[in-house]
């Protein structure tokens, strides 16, 4: 696809991550970044021969920083780090998340502050291009000092030796075989390579980047579904008037209200019950709730966007600083700046789904739906309609509450008390992705209900005009359902609409969050 993406450690966006991780865009290293990397690499090469202790270059790791390492063993130290840190367990990461992690690590190194060779980045980028994907177990990272175990599993593939596994062209094989078939030479580890590969919260941020991209799309789908439900329930538009929201100017609410207005513009169903002064909260408060979710997502995007372009390892090499010792030991690997946003994202996405579930309840409950058929069951054929899918939605939103427990609130001391506060950010990000998956299905179920509901309204009043956006939403989502044919179950319908939302086909109907690129 198109032009290769050039990385330099300071301009990577969430959109870029999606392009590379999911869509196979190729990547190259910017030439200025390459020279900057060379300079810091040269300094490390020099430093490891001198007496001055530099963490992880001529010392042990973690609490073992107290142990001095013979410079002759610097390379062995790096290789040992990779091998002994490959301590992941559990199911494997999906390929896109793994690719995103590789890209993020390459970009962090391209910053030129990690003291490693450009060849390391070149190798990662070649693996991305040829489709050599390391097998990385999902579990086992505390997110500090970075996603050590998952990144070490990547390191096992980079570093020459009888270790590591990959998928290549659809087959699982040893790293040596996969890299050989792809024609990519593996690396002899050198001083500090081990740290440069493993030190940083790239898995957290990789999962987070893809989740945020999907979260934006999900909120837009939720706004479309909300507008369709509000219309089918013959809602009142006064709650969405711009002047109202200007008086409590949360940017997310202003955006959501604006989207609802344009989606519903021209609808003859809206405001068709003048006797009804105001709607239930799940309709009337849609801008407040979805708006708050938008604001929370914006916060998470801003945090992740910073992290995407950060140097995250330890120590960092700052050649501009005064003094002999250019290596600065700090805590840049700590996952907290991404962990907290990921926990916030879980709450926001849970709320998107909670609100949708309540609108769905109204749509399917005869006494609350302004005379829609009970359970939105068809009048053409015998069926239970949406009775059970609403229960499915309730199960999904309840599961999100269990997954919503904030992982970053926890910490367990590790490494002989040297690493006595950890982020648990990886767990936060993994849970956020699951919450999102559940929420996507809830929105799909609301769309399933809203399509039925609007089709009833059109049957009641054949020539009634729907909103500018909702009419198009009805057409497109309706096509997804009607193309399924005979003999489909509610489950089939939900999964089809889930894939429709996942594809982002709804996005042109709703105006998006600008912060993404």
């Amino acid at each position: 696809m198109g032009m290769p993406l050039s990385i330099n450690g300071s301009s990577l966006t969430i959109q870029d991550v999606v392009d590379v991780a999911r869509n196979g865009r190729t990547v190259c290293l910017d030439s200025d970044a390459r020279s900057k990397m060379e300079e810091s690499y040269a300094w490390v090469q020099k430093a490891c021969l001198q007496d001055q202790p530099v963490y992880g270059v001529n010392t042990g790791f973690g609490s073992l920083a107290r142990v001095k390492i013979d410079p002759a063993n610097s390379a062995k130290l790096s290789l040992n780090l990779i091998r002994s840190h490959a301590a992941g367990v559990g199911p494997l990461l999906p390929v896109p998340e793994t690719r995103a992690m590789m890209l993020l690590r390459a970009n962090a190194l391209a910053k030129g502050a990690s003291g490693c060779r450009p060849l390391l980045v070149d190798t990662l980028l070649q693996m991305l291009e040829k489709g050599v994907t390391p097998l990385v177990p999902q579990q086992g990272s505390c997110g500090s000092s970075g996603d050590l175990a998952p990144l070490a599993h990547l390191g096992l593939v980079l570093a020459e030796g009888d270790h590591g596994r990959v998928t290549f062209q659809g087959e699982v094989m040893s790293a040596s075989e996969g890299m050989r078939q792809a024609g990519i030479p593996r690396l002899q580890m050198e001083a500090k390579d081990g740290l440069a590969i493993t030190n940083g919260a790239q898995l957290t941020t990789a999962i987070g980047s893809l989740a945020l991209y999907d979260a934006i799309s999900l909120v837009e789908a939720a706004e479309l579904a909300a507008a369709m439900s509000i219309e089918a329930l013959r809602g009142a538009s006064r709650a969405f008037v711009a002047g109202v929201h200007a008086l409590r100017p949360h940017p997310g609410a202003i955006a959501t209200a604006g989207n609802l207005r344009s989606l519903l513009a021209g609808s003859e169903l809206i405001d068709s019950m003048p006797e009804k002064l105001q709607d239930a909260y799940s309709l009337r408060c849609t801008p407040q709730v979805l708006g708050a979710c938008r604001d929370a997502i914006s916060y998470a995007i801003s945090q992740v966007s910073i992290e995407l372009n950060a140097a995250t390892d330890n120590p960092l090499i700052l050649l501009e600083e005064e003094g002999e010792n250019k290596a600065f030991s700090a805590g840049m690997f700590h996952g907290e700046p991404v962990g907290i946003p990921m926990d916030v994202l879980k709450i926001a996405i849970s709320e998107v789904a909670n609100l949708a579930e309540r609108r769905l309840y109204r749509l399917t409950t005869g006494s609350l739906s302004q005379r829609l058929p009970p359970a939105l069951a068809s009048k053409d054929r015998p069926e239970l309609g949406m009775m059970v899918p609403q229960t499915t939605a309730a199960a999904l939103v309840s599961e999100n509450k269990a997954l919503g427990w904030p992982a970053s609130m926890d910490s367990i001391p590790t490494c002989e008390d040297q690493e006595d506060h950890v982020a648990m950010s990886t767990t936060a990000a993994r849970r956020a992705a699951r919450v999102l998956e559940n929420a996507r299905r809830v929105i799909a179920i609301e769309l399933q209900g809203a399509v039925r509901a609007l089709e009833f309204r059109k049957m009641e009043t054949p020539n009634i005009r729907l909103g500018a956006g909702t009419a198009e939403g009805l057409t497109r989502a309706g096509e997804v359902l009607h193309s399924l044919g005979e003999g489909t179950t509610p489950s089939d319908e939900i999964e089809a609409l889930t894939e429709w939302v996942r594809s982002g086909a709804h996005r042109s109907l709703v105006s998006g969050l600008e912060a993404v690129s």
Binding site: G60, R83, S84, G88, T427, R441, T489
Partner: protein
């Protein structure tokens, strides 16, 4: 030998065996009782037929009983998400058969027979794991099973040509059989994890030269908690003949000293949960019931009793996770491990040894804390105000299974480290307060500990130097899951 389903004696371990392929048979007595129960049905429409207007509105009068059943089952196929593993679907089917075998649901034996044929012929429906709120039962998942049983979808040849009557269509899905089945498989797995964790704890105590006071029977009896007493007894059996774990060594840290209290809590919780599950597995989880020739409507499908038990078990299991993780921390901590090297390898510095295993254990323990969030505290009104309080039991069950996986790996890590620590002692490798190597007397472990250690060494090598940790962790997790460390070798 097939397991006989009779509505009375199905145990959690039976269900685990069925999950892993054991065949089943409906007991003759249950068959006869089901027939008699069916024949005691009063004249008049069944409950599903009474509700047909509510269910299918304008079509109520046109629909045959057969069409009503089909509409009802297919309309409940609203599950989503990842598929349940095959063994869980099998356990769910067997659990549902056993409810029918209570002979209180008004069903003919044919309804049980079709599910039994599916189990014995290895026909396992594809059942999405999400979508049930656990009241009025696990409707969606059971409907995905019933769809195959009733022949409403393509299915392999050779199954009975079964068509349900309206009460059977209801009875096939109206109970929490999936929740109970998942819980039962989890209980069996957790029993094995507990057994392995006692072995791992004993090995840690041996390697650390722990004080024996904390497992003195007199001490534990004095507090009266049967779980603590049992853990003490089982640790003493493992440590019989130990020259290391003896009295007057100085008080242990809590992760060892209070192991009987913490791990004993799981013993008691397991016992309680198993009892509740076995009641449910052998109870009439359906609605309405046909008793004394009379239909009685109630809420026997509600998952609350099981949801509560599974949530409690999640907490107790998480305590096992956190206490094992702390022992792992001590084993890797040079200053706390009584002369063992930091991270349990010589030449530490160039080697990080087992440093990362404790991170992995900590990460998994933290995951358990989140997954232990009680599902049953939530409820969401469903189905047009009718089902206005639900159990969320299936969520509790699925999260319990996830915690179970995490804890199997955590206990595997303790076992791996305890074996390594013991090796160092057996080789006379010691370290002084400054972390400098010194030769010390070689230790001979207690016989049962030595035997368990030998099993570990059949699969995982002693480390002199850094290696790749992942294969060792995977092997250790497998030792726990298969129970091989206990000289068992059963499916997980």
């Amino acid at each position: 030998m097939s397991i006989a389903l009779n509505g009375q004696t199905l145990s959690t371990s039976d269900l685990h065996a069925i999950a892993h392929g054991e065949s089943v048979v409906l007991s003759d007595a249950a068959r006869a009782q089901m027939r008699a129960n069916f024949e005691s049905m009063p004249e008049g429409p069944s409950i599903l037929e009474e509700k047909r207007h509510w269910l299918v509105g304008g079509f109520a009068s046109e629909l045959t009983a057969d069409e009503l059943c089909r509409t009802f089952i297919l309309g409940h196929c609203a599950g989503v998400g990842e598929l349940l593993p095959d063994e869980m679907v099998r356990a769910t089917m067997a659990a549902r058969v056993n409810v029918l075998a209570t002979a209180t649901t008004g069903c003919r034996p044919e309804a049980a027979d079709v599910l039994i044929a599916m189990l014995n012929q290895g026909v396992t429906p594809r059942v999405p794991s999400q979508g049930s709120v656990g009241a009025a039962g696990d409707l969606a998942p059971l409907a995905h099973i019933a769809r195959v049983a009733c022949g409403y979808t393509d299915r392999p040849a050779g199954l009975p040509d079964y068509r349900p009557n309206p009460k059977e269509a209801l009875a096939l899905i109206n109970g929490i059989s999936m929740t109970a089945a998942l819980g039962a498989v989890a209980v069996t797995r957790i029993e094995r994890i507990l057994d392995c964790s006692i072995a791992a704890c004993a090995m840690t105590m041996e390697a650390m030269g722990a004080d024996a006071g904390c497992i003195d029977d007199r001490l534990l009896q004095a507090r009266k908690h049967p779980g603590g007493i049992e853990i003490g007894e089982r640790l003493r059996i493992w440590l019989e003949g130990s020259a290391q774990v003896v009295p007057n060594q100085g008080a242990n840290a809590f992760s060892i000293r209070a192991a009987p209290a913490v791990m004993g809590t799981l013993v008691e919780e397991l016992c309680c949960t198993r009892t509740i599950l076995e009641r449910e597995l052998n109870g009439s989880g359906d609605n309405p019931l046909l008793i004394d020739g009379e239909w009685i409507e109630g809420g026997n499908f509600h998952g609350a009793p099981v949801a509560q038990a599974l949530d409690s078990l999640k907490i107790a299991l998480t305590q096992l996770a956190t206490v094992s993780e702390r022992r792992t921390f001590r084993l890797t901590y040079g200053q706390l491990s009584k002369g063992l090297p930091s991270f349990l390898v010589r030449g530490t510095g160039l080697n990080s040894g087992f440093m990362l295993t404790q991170y992995t254990a900590a990460s998994l323990a933290s995951e358990c804390k989140g997954l232990a969030h009680p599902a049953a505290v939530d409820t969401i009104p469903t189905v047009q105000h009718h089902e206005d309080h639900v159990s969320m039991g299936p969520i509790a069950a699925r999260m319990l299974l996830e915690i179970t996986e995490c804890v199997a790996d955590i206990v595997g890590i303790e076992l791996l480290l305890a074996a390594q620590a013991l090796d160092l002692r057996m080789r006379g490798i010691g370290f002084d307060a400054a972390g400098e190597f010194m030769e010390v007397d070689c230790v001979t472990p207690a016989p049962r500990i030595a035997a368990a250690h030998a099993v570990v060494r059949q699969h995982i090598d002693y480390w002199e130097d850094d290696g790749v940790l992942h294969p060792a962790l995977a092997a250790a997790g497998k030792l726990v899951r298969t129970g091989e460390i206990l000289s068992e070798n059963g499916p997980w």
